[in-house]
């Protein structure tokens, strides 16, 4: 395999990339044959569910070795950039969120390329085909413990998290270390009007802004930090803190709605606080892209095609790890999961990658400035 890889690299270096069996117009069968010849495909994935994909993919294509890597989106971006600088490509496929940074830092300079499997092109809405193919929609939303609160969420507005009863009892991943959480806070700032309205509705008075604070969203972040919000390093820490069974007085936390799928396995009671005003959090695309100069471009295409599922009702083994409540698949022909809140009733904000990208640096500094 190494020989093959160096051969393709050598051909590419000689300006003969076209000779490498990776021509964009190749038919599906040709791609599959070439992928089998490549024999392996390396994936950077922001979800540990990639390990389940490995087993299923290798059952479908025993001659292709899927090498999975569970790396957060933020770290993938740093890693891909470091690799680029070094002139190497460590993976074929990147499966990652963090749309604002990915668009700006990886897609626009051409480091990460879109691939929409022809077989699915007409079953995926156009807005989910650019700048990269969205595999599904993921979330960062307010979750609570439904064992401790069987009658629904203990709060009805995000502003409640800044009040005394929740002092030191709101858990989230450090937004200075993880992009998706920074995107969540950025969206709250971008939605300042809704935040201001929610404050009036709850407390009957407008938000009092501190000196130097521009809007209601920023004030909420400052208040949350002043209320001793707990930062942790991974979503699983949030899940355990909020969701673990047998707690008398569990904290609230921001995490992925879809982590509810592990409730039974892990002994959690996670549930989304969908009704919270003005919104429970954000919903954003999880992208699939092929790295420029990927050593196994055909296997990458084959994997992405396979990951979009088969023709069975819920998409078969490739989509099984993602056909869970809280993940919203982008394929329009797959029915929504019956245990989940339907997408049109799910109240999370849809992020606008461009607006988020423009605002997130200032929000990151706001968080840093008020710790």
């Amino acid at each position: 395999m190494t020989t093959l890889r160096s051969l393709s690299l050598a051909l590419c270096a000689a300006g003969l990339c076209a000779l490498v069996p990776a021509a964009a117009s190749a038919s599906e069968a040709e791609v599959e044959a070439a992928a089998r010849a490549e024999g392996q495909v390396t994936v950077y994935s922001f979800t540990s569910r990639v390990f389940r994909l490995e087993t299923a993919f290798e059952e479908a294509y025993p001659e292709i070795d899927l090498i999975p890597f569970d790396i957060s989106s933020t770290e993938q971006i740093a890693r891909i950039q470091a690799e680029l600088q070094a002139g190497v490509t460590g993976a074929d496929v990147a499966y990652l969120a963090d749309a604002p940074v990915v668009t700006e830092a990886l897609v626009e300079p051409g480091h990460l390329e879109a691939f929409v499997p022809p077989a699915f092109a007409d079953r995926i809405p156009d807005r989910f085909e650019t700048p990269l193919l969205a595999h599904r929609l993921s979330t960062k939303v307010l979750m609570y413990n439904e064992e401790a609160h069987p009658d629904g969420p203990p709060v009805d507005t995000l502003w409640a998290l800044t009040t005394e009863p929740w002092r030191g009892r709101v858990v989230m991943v450090d937004p200075s270390q993880r992009g998706d959480y920074l995107d969540l806070l950025t969206e709250i700032v971008l939605q300042s009007e809704a935040m201001a309205a929610a404050h009036e509705a709850e407390f009957g008075e407008p938000v009092k802004r501190d000196a130097g604070i521009a809007n209601a969203g920023e004030q909420w972040i400052v208040d949350l930090l002043a209320n001793d919000v707990v930062f942790v390093s991974s979503t699983d820490d949030v899940n355990v803190a909020v969701g673990a069974l047998g707690q008398e007085n569990p904290p609230l936390g921001f995490t992925s709605y879809s982590d509810r799928r592990d409730n039974e396995e892990e002994g959690w009671a996670l549930q989304v606080a969908n009704e919270v005003e003005p919104a429970p959090g954000i919903i954003y695309p999880a992208f699939l892209g092929i790295l420029a100069n990927a050593p196994n471009p055909n296997a990458a295409k084959l994997l992405i095609t396979w990951m979009m599922g088969d023709e069975s009702e819920t998409g078969g083994p490739a989509l099984a790890p993602f056909y869970v409540p809280g993940d919203y698949l982008t394929r329009t022909d797959i029915p929504p999961h019956q245990d989940a809140i339907p997408l049109d009733q799910f109240r999370a904000w849809r992020i606008d990658p461009e607006a988020t990208a423009a605002a997130r640096r200032a929000v990151a500094d706001l968080v840093l400035a008020h710790q």
Partner: protein, 577 residues
């Protein structure tokens, strides 16, 4: 200048070898130390770099990004240094120079804390001390027993400092004990004959003789503590307690490497100032050669009524920093919830077949082929880095010794010390930027970065070994007709073998248990145990992470054993009556 060092300088000046040696040493230091530093400097010289410096020093983020973390870093560094030198020094004195009972056991255990990965000690701390800040399921053993520890003991500055002390005092012990062990009976007897009290002997004779070792140990501990990432990351984050290293990590992770470099540059400048002080203290003590041609005859100081109380205190210290964390890790790797170590134990996390209901189908670590590969890669990385670092250390250390006490030697020594002040993460990032085009993803790059990161350890152990060999021995060999190489192989190396071996084990262990350095360097084809453990931990699979930490610990202890770490060569004073 003593007669010995004059003759050394004279002999050195006559041969061509020192010039070649000096050039070689500077070339190695340039490749391993100056190049990554230049990389950081160049990143700061760009427009983005200037903006980052402005933001970090004067922007609205300055307080939380730079000044508070800097204060925390310095406070932790100083507290850890002081505690380590005092604890390590006292322990070394008790073990080498007194008639304390159980000193053999205590001496053997005292070398071990350094082998437990920092992140594992920090995890062990949470297993025992965590309160309900991360939910009621995350509480530690104490809280489960109904004795919830106060918040300041669960998270933040105090636990970070204590964990680093528990981990690093072993370095101080390992550096101070050899120096104490070579203090001869004749020197002490001479002092006693003149009527000096025990305190006066300690203050007037022993302390000045070991001052260089104390200073070196202090400098190492400070640098290690100040640049540590794992401990503050695990124990500080929940209460938003940050150091420069965690802030720099955050900056790298969120795509502002220039800010990260700005913090690291600040850390290097501030630490370098302290390094200068240490170097001054070391120079003062440098001219004492204690490993002379004569045999060292030593007698142990009688502790009298203090024998047992001191032995019990020392035993408590070494037990609390070795057996307790190791046990916490082992037990929590067997427990259904990490702090619930009295629950129903299970071997699943070690031996279990994949079970979809547990940890998303992860097999027990001993059944996991990735872990087998990681074990071999880690072992190889430790061995190759150990040997290469020692080879580089010999060249640089010899050059320093031959150059005597001049500015050139001091410069070389301080340059070789610099990697300690650069967080491992930054060394990793800089090396990928520098040599990645040729070597990205290669085993060689891991080893080269490892050699750079451990260079101070290698050079220090060579220098410490070298400094105590009286020039008269080498001089005799030269007079007998031996060339520079002959002197090195025939006299210097055998005399220094014990300390060189100890240096090798230090480097090996540091490489095997280090996470910060390799987190950016590893690739799918090149898994390392610490990275695997870290991934498990961040996926919430605490038991697997603890199990891998135990494997790392076993590997480190095995290396220690194989190198004779528990035998006479490593701590010869333990065998003496």
């Amino acid at each position: 200048m003593t007669p010995a060092s004059t003759s050394r300088a004279r002999l050195g000046g006559r041969s061509l070898a020192p010039a070649v040696l000096t050039v070689g040493a500077f070339a190695l230091v340039a490749l391993l130390v100056l190049a990554p530093l230049a990389h950081i400097g160049l990143a700061l010289a760009t427009e983005a770099g200037a903006a980052a410096l402005r933001d970090v020093f004067t922007g609205r983020i300055a307080t939380n990004m730079l000044w508070l973390p800097l204060k925390h870093t310095l406070l932790i560094g100083l507290a850890v240094t002081l505690a380590c030198v005092v604890l390590g020094g006292l322990l070394a004195w008790l073990v080498t120079m007194t008639d304390m009972p159980l000193r053999r056991v205590i001496g053997l255990l005292a070398a071990l804390p350094f082998m437990i990965p920092t992140f594992a000690v920090a995890l062990a701390w949470t297993v025992i001390f965590a309160n309900d800040r991360l939910g009621e399921a995350g509480i530690g053993v104490l809280a489960r027993l109904g004795a919830e520890p106060p918040a300041w003991l669960a998270w933040g500055a105090v636990p970070v400092t204590l964990v680093l002390i528990a981990h690093l005092y072993a370095i101080a012990y390992l550096m101070i004990a050899p120096a104490l062990a070579t203090v001869g009976r004749d020197l002490i007897a001479a002092a006693e004959i003149t009527g000096a009290s025990r305190a006066q002997v300690l203050k007037g004779v022993v302390f000045p003789l070991v001052a260089p070792a104390l200073a070196a140990a202090g400098a190492l501990c400070f640098a290690e503590a100040a640049s540590s990432f794992s401990a503050p990351a695990i124990l500080g984050l929940p209460v938003r307690f940050h150091t420069l290293a965690t802030r720099a990590y955050g900056a790298f992770e969120t795509g502002s490497p220039e800010r990260g470099y700005a913090l690291i540059a600040t850390m290097i400048v501030v630490s370098a100032a302290l390094l200068l002080l240490a170097a001054r203290a070391r120079r003062r003590g440098q001219s004492f050669a204690t490993a002379a041609g004569k045999g060292v005859v030593r007698a142990r100081m009688a502790l009298g009524a203090w024998r047992w109380p001191l032995a019990i205190a020392a035993l408590a210290l070494v037990t609390a920093t070795t057996i307790v964390p190791a046990l916490a890790l082992v037990l929590s790797s067997l427990s259904p919830q990490s702090g619930d170590v009295f629950g129903a134990w299970s071997w699943h996390y070690w031996l279990g077949a994949p079970d979809a209901a547990i940890a998303r189908g992860q097999p027990g670590i001993l059944r996991n082929p990735e872990l087998h590969r990681a074990f071999i890669v880690t072992l190889a990385a430790g061995l190759f880095t150990g040997v290469s670092a020692l080879a580089v250390g010999l060249v640089v250390g010899e050059a320093i010794a031959r150059l005597g006490a001049g500015t050139v030697a001091t410069t070389l020594r301080q340059l070789a010390f610099l990697p300690l002040l650069i967080p491992g993460l930054a060394i990793g990032a800089a090396f990928i930027g520098l040599y990645g085009a040729l070597l990205y993803g290669s085993f060689a790059l891991v080893v080269i970065a490892g050699v750079a990161a451990t260079l101070p350890f290698a050079v220090e152990s060579v220098a410490a070994a070298r400094a105590q060999i009286a020039a008269e021995l080498e001089e005799s060999a030269r007079l007998a007709g031996a060339g520079p190489l002959g002197v090195l192989v025939g006299v210097t190396l055998p005399l220094a073998a014990g300390k060189l071996l100890a240096g090798f084990v230090l480097v090996f262990v540091k490489m095997v248990r280090d996470l910060d350095l390799v987190i950016l360097l590893y690739t799918p084809a090149l898994p390392l145990l610490t990275v695997v453990a870290f991934r498990y931990a961040s996926d919430g699979f605490a038991q697997f992470a603890h199990a891998v930490a135990v494997v790392i610990l076993v590997l480190s202890i095995a290396a220690h054993l194989a190198a004779g770490g528990f035998g006479r060569a490593a701590q010869p004073w333990l065998a003496e009556r």
